[in-house]
């Protein structure tokens, strides 16, 4: 079985069906670019696999992670634990404005560590023990270090104390990438990560994504940057009208598209 397996994923909003049964799988370490015209369902697809929208039909499965079936019922806790296996970087960054770059990465990490610790020490009395306090302290130090390392990885060691409003769009997006990586997701998704950026700032973000590929990250990138898709992606999906119209290597899609829709889209671009 592949690393990420999606079968017959369908999603409608009211009477409008946006995803008409998506079948898709990807291997560990693979980078897949998703291209297509607006309204083709790319973003809805990402939102469904991050559980920001609940699919109406189909299954989403991660090897050794979880299996989601739209027919099943899930508690908020189940959904949270599935979300943590996936990461999502937004088009509009969505950093928390009241926290510094470092806090943006550290705080979500710390919240999850605390939850895990509390699960280990369910009794209030146990949390007064020395062992609990020691564990809490070491988790804190670990998270602190991890947030620093992640920001260093995206080249922002010198901006850790800055608030989002003091950072450029490219820097904000790099913080958002570090924040998404903090949970060590099985699959990291990007929803048009450079669309909100000035042209001169897209390069730094795309560079970070390329570096992540070298580190072996499994990534699913919705993008309008055809050059980037061609160079970095192992595989390209072309979405049109809620189905995967065509998929193949960048070479196949960009140079020898089989579907007339793909050809028309790429020419328009």
């Amino acid at each position: 079985m592949a690393y990420l397996n999606i079968k017959n994923l369908k999603k409608s909003f009211g009477s409008t069906q946006v995803l008409h049964g998506i079948d898709f799988s990807m291997e560990k370490g693979e980078v897949v670019a998703v291209i297509g015209a607006s309204g083709g369902g790319k973003t809805t697809f990402l939102r469904c696999i991050n559980f920001l929208e609940m699919a109406n039909e189909g299954t989403i499965e991660i090897e050794d992670g979880f299996k989601f079936d739209a027919k099943g019922t899930y508690t908020p806790k189940d959904i949270r634990s599935m979300r943590l296996k996936m990461g999502l970087v937004f088009q509009s960054f969505n950093l928390f404005p009241q926290y510094t770059a470092w806090q943006n990465v550290y705080i979500p990490l710390q919240l999850r560590s605390k939850e895990r610790l509390k699960a280990q020490y369910p009794l209030f009395k146990a949390r007064l023990s020395k062992a609990y306090r020691e564990a809490e302290k070491s988790a804190l130090a670990e998270n602190k270090k991890r947030a620093e390392d992640l920001l260093a990885d995206v080249g922002l060691s010198d901006k850790m104390g800055n608030y989002p409003c003091q950072l450029s769009g490219g820097q904000q997006q790099r913080v958002a990438i570090a924040r998404a990586l903090a949970q060590n997701p099985a699959v990291l998704c990007f929803d048009e990560p450079t669309s909100a950026l000035d042209p001169e700032l897209t390069g730094e973000v795309l560079r970070v994504i390329s570096e992540l590929k070298e580190q072996g990250r499994t990534m699913l990138v919705v993008t309008h940057e055809m050059e980037f898709a061609r160079k970095v992606a192992d595989r390209v999906l072309f979405f049109a009208d809620g189905v995967i119209e065509e998929e193949g290597t960048p070479e196949e899609i960009f140079c020898h598209p089989k579907s007339p829709k793909t050809a028309a889209f790429l020419k328009l671009d």
Partner: protein
């Protein structure tokens, strides 16, 4: 009567005004938050009920509400709810708390609903619970958004305390009437303005300071 005596006497009345102001804030801010959650509730009957209450309270004069709280329990049910030494003050406090809670609830609702959806979604994909999202992500952004409208309400409240005079609470205007107006001494009535100006001035400085404290981030 010397200027100092008059000042001290008025200050006594202003103390009651201040107490009414402070206690109203202490109770109406949390109550406002509860009402705002109620009116945003997905449980429709609760949300309708909260919106109905807000409509009635915001739609009728505060003075009328003071009369209603103080007199209606006695008139309708024959119970003297607000008797004793502090009865009138308590009645005024109840009316003020409900009135201001309704105004605050609408400010809070606007502030909470004004937080971009992306903030909630970012918190969700990071695995936060609804509670964590509210307290670690949303709350401080709401505080910043509502600071200006809340400071407006708070300053209005300082002056609205004078309405308590209508049910004979011994606040500054009532004291003035009993002590000075009744002796045809007119100027202390206008001297009262100084008390309000100084207090509102202090509040203005305080809110300016808060705004500065929160200026390190943009929402």
């Amino acid at each position: 009567m010397s200027f100092t005596d008059i000042t001290l006497k008025l200050l006594e009345g202003f103390k009651v005004s201040f107490l009414l102001f402070a206690l109203t804030l202490v109770f109406s801010l949390p109550l406002g938050l509860i009402i705002s959650f109620g009116s945003m509730s997905r449980f429709k009957p609760l949300s309708w009920f909260c919106r109905l209450v807000v409509w009635v309270i915001r739609g009728t004069p505060l003075m009328l509400q003071l009369f209603a709280v103080f007199y209606v329990p006695g008139l309708l049910f024959g119970v003297q709810l607000f008797s004793g030494e502090n009865g009138r003050f308590t009645a005024a406090l109840v009316a003020f708390v409900f009135n201001y809670a309704c105004y605050f609830s609408e400010i809070f609702r606007g502030g909470i609903q004004g937080v971009p959806k992306g903030q909630y979604e970012a918190a969700q994909v990071l695995g936060m619970t609804a509670r964590e999202t509210f307290f670690t992500v949303v709350l401080m952004q709401v505080v910043k958004r509502i600071l200006a409208p809340v400071s407006n309400e708070v300053i209005t409240l300082v002056k609205d305390t004078s309405l308590a005079r209508t049910i004979a609470v011994a606040e500054i205007f009532f004291v003035n009437e009993m002590e000075f107006l009744s002796r045809a001494l007119i100027w202390p009535l206008f001297y009262i303005a100084v008390f309000f100006l100084i207090f509102v001035g202090a509040l203005t400085l305080f809110f300016g300071w808060c705004e500065k404290k929160l200026s390190y981030y943009r929402v």
